[in-house]
Amino acid sequence: MDLSEASLRELRDALRSRRVSARELARFYLDRVAAHNPALNAFITITEAEALAAATAADGRLAAGEEGALLGIPMAHKDIFCTEGVRTTCASRMLEQFIAPYNATVVERLRAAGMVMLGKLNMDEFAMGSSNETSHFGAVRNPWDLQRVPGGSSGGSAAAVAARLVPAATGTDTGGSIRQPAALCGVTGIKPTYGRVSRYGMIAFASSLDQGGPLAKTAEDCALLLEAMAGHDPRDATSHPEAAGTFAATLDAPLKGLRVGVPEEFFGAGLDPEVAAAVEAGIRILAAQGAVIKPIHLSNNAHAVSTYYVLAPAEASSNLARFDGVRYTYRAAGVEDLTDLYQRSRYEGFGAEVRRRILIGTYVLSAGYYDAYYLKAQQVRSLIREDFRQAFAEVDVIVGPTTPTAAFALGDKAQDPVAMYLADIYTIAVNLAGIPAMSIPCGFTAGGLPIGMQLMGNYFTDGLLLNVAHRFQQETDWHRQRPALASAKG
């Protein structure tokens, strides 16, 4: 058995039948991390000792006859989730030394399920970025081409899963931060319905858009992970009372009669022809399984990026105010007074992209600009929601490209924020509406880079999306491709 290619079910079976112990499994993946992370930079913190201790504990639970779908299986968290006793940096100098005194709900739930955390994954600083180049800890490399970006902000998560450094990872998605890197790294990731997964202990970027979710090799793995992650959390007022769900049981439901909407707006100018061709081929695979394909319109999608870049920075400017140099954050040395403490700690503690968004957000909320920017953007957000409402009156899922292009080169868009923002042109509307969406591998460019297909569903149809994705993955093997990693030790 190739442990690095095994699905979560196969790993569970191997653990239960004692063909492998949780400790051996943790050791196996820690060795892969040690071999390949220096080239990829997917991890910010590797918690080897804690992982081996947790694996030993999982072996004890297995020996006691406990049965859990995830018991003893290694994983890693995006470094945006607070982990008790292990530093949580959000890839920022601001939190370089921050050790959380508590666990995020997601961390707690996966721990309780017996998963073994190997470490904390790299990301764009405070999840602000689409290339993982804004990390204080350096860019993550795309395992398919080390000169290219893995996408962002959950770039470390996608790269780690693609390189088989972990069988599963958590990510967060505010404007595409799970789906875009999943697409660029050739893995499967789902952004659940807003309110499905608790945000407690997940460091806030834009509270009304942020949603945690899993990245893994397959839809089936994501379904098992999401079952463990989802659930109502009384500590998060935006957590939905019926957030819990079962997703694995319905994975095999046939697609016959499934109404699939294809938005014309997702296939216009700016879409790379290779990506378009791969997604169109993917849609034909769904049709071949009996799905009914319908052209639809999401006419306000054109406004999604600009709406997002008003609302997300507005919320971020306030969410990031707590990082002020007073308590647990980076504090500038030799400050003269309180104002100096604030200004220099925040100037030195935050990177350029974070500072840019705080400035934008502060501006759009300012007296005299609020109505023209923030309020207007909220109105457009309602229109975008309405677009989806109308679309889902006619179709069950919407399918399109996840990204306009495959992975771009490191440094390509780093100096052009607007070009970078347009990398999320197909993913952002989903967050503004709060609906679930996922990205699954659907092909490769001629240059050998993965291409992602996006599935979008109505509120709380996360299970249906996973079902469609799983059926798609029964017919294709794009998700089984893995990058050839150049490592002597691997």
Partner: protein, 478 residues
């Protein structure tokens, strides 16, 4: 031409919930710094607020008590500014859609008239922590125990026209929050504090530019601060100057206000709806449940006291100004003459408390004890004068009324034989005065009464002494 002062008040009442407004930490006052904190009120990364339902019910109760519109949908907003004791860098408050809308409060003016003061709104928000400057040389300590304590900010219309009206409004609101048990009303600890917006105008003219005096935590400070502002603004206006719209602080030691910051320097708070909290939505049933649990309110209680106890309006007003005093009175008045009870509570008791600097809550004489004391007057066991001595004694030292009467031999002498004996002795000892009285100097009766009372050590029943003396002095003249 006269100036007219225009006053509006913003009152911050700390709601006396057991836990904070957005987390489960205790709100108890006086704990060691930062011991009543958690990830939420420390604003650790990733921590989220969850609304405390008890704070909402208390806000609804206040709203109902001032006949206000209760908004079944209200929205929490973030007020953004940087300050070390504001750990999130924003305060969660309510801005455009507060939980309580327009209402009214009736106040009694010193001259006995009543006035209706408009209430603009009341909204829920969280308190900040405290900066500690003492004991940290060159540094500032931060105590976040208070951070997240629920506040209800009650904003009045600019309806008050004198410092006395402002004080009457604040006192009425103070009584109300304590009646409702939504706030402990402790002004020294800052549980109930107010900001005053003060401006001057010529009567009938549009409102003038106002100054806002912050953080007044006593009725007297409110009065002094407004009086000072009136003089200050009048001087400026009459010397042709202009009032600057600004925030001012009251210096209680100097009795004056001084500028804190002008409007130009004021923060742009960048209010926006808090995305961590859904809009606060509730139905009529919840309002109904709070309404059903409301206690009798001051105005209703005052009317009842006039009817049930036959008290004059003034007495009823004084006795119902605080729920504690009203409850005390009603305990005393059982089986005791209602007016006598009122006189004792308003006069002796409140006087003694005032002198001792105590609130009713700290009263050393239980209402049941005062009731027994007054019953002993009623059943002629002691005289009113002796009762006052006993009251002073138990107020200062404690003790039981009947035990003191017995152990000190204070029981009133009502035995007519014993009284007659005393009178005979006094008549025999003062032949000249007896002769003068009988010669027409009626005023000397008081002298004889005094002598007899003195001889009885104050215990002889004064009515009996009086009657018996008249009789005997008259008898002897025949």
């Amino acid at each position: 031409m006269e100036w007219e002062v225009v006053i509006g008040l913003e009152v911050h009442a700390q709601l006396n919930t057991a836990s904070k407004i957005f987390c489960g930490c205790s709100t108890a006052f006086g704990a060691a710094p930062n011991t009543q904190t958690c990830p939420v009120c420390l604003a650790l990364p990733g921590a989220l607020p969850v609304l405390n339902a008890a704070a909402v019910d208390k806000a609804i109760a206040l709203g109902l008590a001032v006949n206000a519109q209760i908004n079944k949908r209200s929205v929490f907003a973030r007020k953004n500014y940087f300050y070390p004791d504001l750990p999130k860098g924003y305060q969660i408050s309510q801005y455009e859609l507060p939980i309580v809308g327009k209402g009214t409060l009736t106040i009694a003016l010193p001259d006995g008239r009543e006035k209706l003061v408009g209430i603009t709104r009341a909204h829920l928000e969280e308190d900040a922590g405290k900066s500690l400057h003492e004991a940290f040389s060159g540094q500032t300590g931060i105590d976040l125990n208070r951070a997240g304590t629920p506040l209800l900010e009650i904003v009045s219309e600019p309806d008050m026209r004198s410092p006395a009206e402002a004080v009457a409004y604040l006192k009425k609101l103070h009584a109300l929050v304590r009646y409702l048990d939504v706030c402990d009303g402790n002004m020294q600890e800052g549980s109930f504090r107010c900001d005053a917006n003060v401006s001057l105008r010529r009567p009938g003219a549009p409102f003038g530019t106002r100054a806002e005096v912050k953080n007044l935590n006593s009725f007297r400070f409110l009065e002094k601060a407004i009086e000072y502002e009136m003089e200050r603004q009048q001087d400026i206006l009459e010397s042709g100057g202009k009032i600057v719209q600004e925030t001012r602080l009251f210096d209680a030691n100097k009795g004056e206000t001084r500028s804190m910051r002008s409007k130009e320097e004021a923060n742009d708070y960048r209010y926006f709806p808090d995305p961590d909290l859904l809009p606060l939505v509730f139905d009529e049933a919840r309002i109904g449940a709070v309404r059903a649990a409301l206690p009798e309110l001051p105005d209703a209680k005052r009317d009842r006291f006039m009817q049930q106890y036959g008290l004059p309006a003034y007495d009823a007003g004084v006795l119902t100004a605080s729920r504690a005093v009203a409850d005390y009175y009603e305990t005393v008045a059982v089986g005791v003459d209602a007016k006598m009870a009122a006189n004792w509570v308003m006069g002796d008791l409140l006087g003694a408390l005032n002198k001792a600097g105590l609130e009713m809550e700290g009263c050393p004489v239980a209402a049941e004890k005062l009731r027994i004391l007054l019953q002993r007057i009623g059943d002629q066991t002691i005289s009113g004068k002796i009762a006052k001595d006993i009251f002073e004694l138990i107020f200062a030292e404690g003790g039981e009324v009947d035990a003191i009467i017995d152990s000190r031999g204070l029981r009133q002498i009502t035995d007519s034989g014993a009284i007659a004996g005393l009178i005979d002795e006094i008549i025999a000892a003062n032949p000249q005065q007896v002769a003068d009285y009988r010669g027409g100097k009626d005023k000397l009766l008081a002298f004889f009464v005094g002598q007899v009372m003195k001889a009885s050590k104050g215990k002889a029943n004064p009515d009996q002494v009086n009657a018996s003396l008249r009789e005997k002095l008259k008898a002897g003249s025949q």
